[in-house]
Amino acid sequence: MVSGTLSVDALLDKMASETRALITRRDLNDPLMIGIRTGGVWLAERLHRQLELTSPLGVLDISFYRDDFTQVGINPKVQPSQLPCATEGRDILLVDDVIMSGRTIRAALNELFDYGRPASVNLITLLDLQRRELPIQADVIGGTLALGPDQLVKLNGPDPLTLTIRQRD
Amino acid sequence: MNILISGGRVIDPAQSLDQITDLYISQGEIYAIGAAPEGFHADEVIDADGQIVCPGLIDLCTTLREPGQTRKGTIASETAAAAAGGITTLVVTPDTSPIVETAAVAELIQDRAADIGFARVLPMGALTQGLQGEQLAPLHGLASSGCIAFTNLRRPFGNSQILLRCLEYAATHDLLVVFQAQDGALAANGCMHDDTTSTRLGLNGIPEAAETIEVSRCLLLVEQTGVRAHFGQLSCERSVHMIEAARERGLQVTADVAIQNLLLTDECVNGFNSAYHLQPPLRSQLDRAGLRQGLVTGTISAICSDHQPHDPIAKQAPFAATEPGMSGLETLLPLSLQLVDQQLLELPQLIESLTSAPARILGLDAGTLEVGSQADICVFDPTAEWTVTEDNLRSAGKNTPFLGQTLKGQVNATLMDGRIVFRR
């Protein structure tokens, strides 16, 4: 169990170097970075700068692809995804703040594939909460976190980026 | 058979009687009131303690559907319903199939009702052939065969000349004409009162003028011909004023109103509940108030049910595509009692509007408990509460907007011709 504030900047440095290694190891060609709204976008902006990627940053909104739409309804404040380039045949670096059950990533993958067939999708997350309900893993992780049953973690941003852990009301 | 009805509050407006006393029936007639007659031995005793004993109700407008529309109702089912509602005389509309425009049909209906024996059925005859509003029907022959009055229902006349001639002919033979006043063109395609609610719901309205124009025309022609005339089931406050004015001028016209128009308004149609699709339509609060006032002042002297039973399909469609009418025999009494609860009328006045007043309008020797008169009697508990369900309605028509509601006032026994035709 961890409490208090974790340093996002420190984690980002680690993630940037691991991503560089990933790009080399998998021989990714001019990778396209896409952040999942909202936390993933803030992180992707930082990583995009640190890694000095050529292709512009994309934004993915997965609200319409969620699998719990019948319970929570549709969020009326949805803005559309913005993908500046075609995804067909591209190597994609998908960025999100937290991976927990894996459902958000599943929705993101479904949406990405509606846009076209990428060459590869590589997943980068800041935190892994290790409570999978689907067989999905991240390729680069900032850190793992085991939360108590009544605890929540939240990424605040966009500047500065900080993590807070608090008790559920 | 000798019957004693004991300990009830006997209310007979015709005799101005209202007291707790005993009623003795013998050989189909009221034998005595009050002290037991010498040598009277009751074969049957009805304990009416805590209950009202009044003349059997006379319903001025009902539809029994037989002959011709028996999937909606039969003389057997509907007279059974009447008996359960304390109604012993039913005036029925001529729109059967075939229409009541021949002696044969008039006699058929009365014979059938007599065979079944639950209630007296008095047919109204068609005023014009086929109710088409063009040619006179054989009024005199129909009257000889038992038609108590003549009407063209809400169907239009070809022109005023034809109407005038029909009235003159009826007047010749001193026959009673019943008007259900409605101007055909103004009411065409309408299914509810023309006002704010119909505007909001996008339903075709029947304007007030549809009734008042026809009431006006009929009053003028009644005055000219001197025919005996009655206005059935008024729905507008304006109509009440017109009839009041005519009566003040000396014209002896009478009027009745259906109980639902005294209690409900067009706002009930919100939500498109087809149970409220009625003709005449439920109108505005102002109209309801005017009708209620008309009852108090006596311009309207009688209340009826306007009973129209329907098969379920008739009401299962978008509002305008449904058939109008509600099943009302078994709710007539408890709904009418609400007028007493609401302090609009005293109980004896209410009973008058359901018994001696209809009898007077029809020129019938009925609607009274005077010694020697036919023993048509209703015994009811004014405080008993019951919930209207499809199962406890004896009518074939379950089409009432009061389904599921709890009403107060329940008939415990009904006698016709000194026979018990209903007992709870």
């Binding site: 319409f64 692809y65 739409f69 019948t70 319970q71 309804g73 549709i74 009326p76 404040k77 949805v78 803005q79 559309p80 995804s81 479904n110 949406e111 509606d114 846009y115 | 023309d194 006002d195 704010t196 505007t199 909001r200 719901l201 996008g202 339903l203 309205g205 304007p207 209690l263 409900l264 706002e267 009930c268 919100n270 939500g271 498109f272 509940n273 399909i313 008739a314 299962q316 469609a317 978008p318 509002f319 305008a320 595509a321 449904t322």
Partner: protein, 336 residues
């Protein structure tokens, strides 16, 4: 004595979610705004490469049009397909068989085929209510126009169009012009405009085309254009059907056009930045001059685009509400 039926008792779930969309009347302002916001995101999506979302994947939407309409039918069809639903189109002619029976039987048959949503257009006012309340309460019902009663999706796409061009509803003066008497569109527009809180709603028509007591709906009545259009921000024209000339309601199309047709001269009575709308299809030279219909102030084509987005928004909200209602009912019966 007896309470009038609240239209919302049937349209909303116990916790206020939309489950049938039958009329704009009586819906809370927040809900109308949610529909507009959701529709906004679908409009933006319509301009993207990927126009489909999987919100209604696996669901069957049956379009039941008892009144012919190619336009409305095709926008609903497109909206359902963009939500990834399976679509069934049924154009039903009611002239042959007895009306009430056909409607109920048709619907029971469709229910047996497990449709999740009905989009219904019918010539009788209250038809959508009848279906939602008495025939198939478990199927989400979207009213595509019933008699003269309501056309709520048209009203909402009109509201979206107004909002996208004018922003805030509060200061707007809106005029509805034409055959108000026979118009379900006008009624739905009036309810929506009132709920959204515009400054003033006006109706402009000859008396023969105005319903009695229309003021009770919260509008000001004008019978001529010069005063009716003064200071108006939004002009909503209505269709005039040819039949009206046959029933002593109007003498001729020419006279109607002269008095109520929107041409450039009459447009000048309104504010300089006033916009012009029409639900379509337009009768050029009867309701509106070509130059105005095709001109810079006309939002008629935007209305069409917005129509698809609004229908997508309404359909997905109603489906979600209906599914959560079903889940709640299932839970109740399990617990019982």
């Amino acid at each position: 004595m007896f309470e009038a039926n609240d239209p919302n008792s049937i349209q909303l779930t116990a916790d206020g979610q939309l489950r049938h969309f039958l009329t704009t009347e009586g819906l809370p302002r927040e809900l109308l705004i949610e529909i507009l916001d959701t529709a906004d995101s679908f409009v933006d999506m319509g301009e993207q490469q990927v126009k489909k979302v999987p919100l209604l994947r696996g669901k069957t939407v049956a379009n039941l049009f008892f009144e012919n309409s190619t336009r409305t039918l095709s926008t609903f069809e497109l909206a359902a397909k963009r939500l990834s639903a399976d679509v069934l189109n049924l154009n039903i002619n009611t002239s042959s068989t007895k009306k009430g029976e056909t409607l109920k039987d048709t619907l029971m048959t469709l229910q047996a085929m497990h449709s999740d949503m009905f989009v219904v257009r019918h010539a009788d006012s209250g038809a959508a209510h009848f279906i939602a309340q008495h025939v198939t309460p478990n199927v989400a019902v979207i009213n595509a126009g019933d008699g003269r009663h309501a056309h709520p999706t048209q009203a909402m796409l009109d509201m979206l169009t107004i909002r996208r061009h004018k922003g805030d509803f509060a200061p707007l003066k809106v005029a509805i012009v034409g055959d108000i008497l026979h118009s379900r569109v006008a009624r739905s527009q009036i309810h929506a405009l009132r709920t959204l809180g515009v400054d003033e709603i006006r109706v402009i028509a000859p008396k023969t085309l105005l319903p009695r007591h229309i003021e009770a709906l919260g509008v000001k009545v004008y019978t001529e254009m010069a005063s009716g259009l003064r200071d108006v921000d939004v002009i909503m024209m209505l269709r005039l059907q040819k039949e009206r000339m046959q029933s002593a309601l109007l003498p001729s199309e020419a006279e109607f056009y002269k008095l109520y047709g929107l041409n450039r001269d009459k447009l000048a009575y309104a504010k300089p930045d006033a916009v012009v709308m029409h639900p379509g299809p337009i009768n050029r030279g009867v309701e509106i001059e070509s130059e105005v219909a095709d001109g810079p102030r006309s939002l008629i084509l935007d209305q069409v685009t917005n129509g698809i987005a609004v229908r997508m928004a309404v359909m997905s909200k109603a489906m979600s509400g209906q599914l959560s209602q079903r889940a709640a009912t299932d839970n109740e019966s399990r617990e019982a």
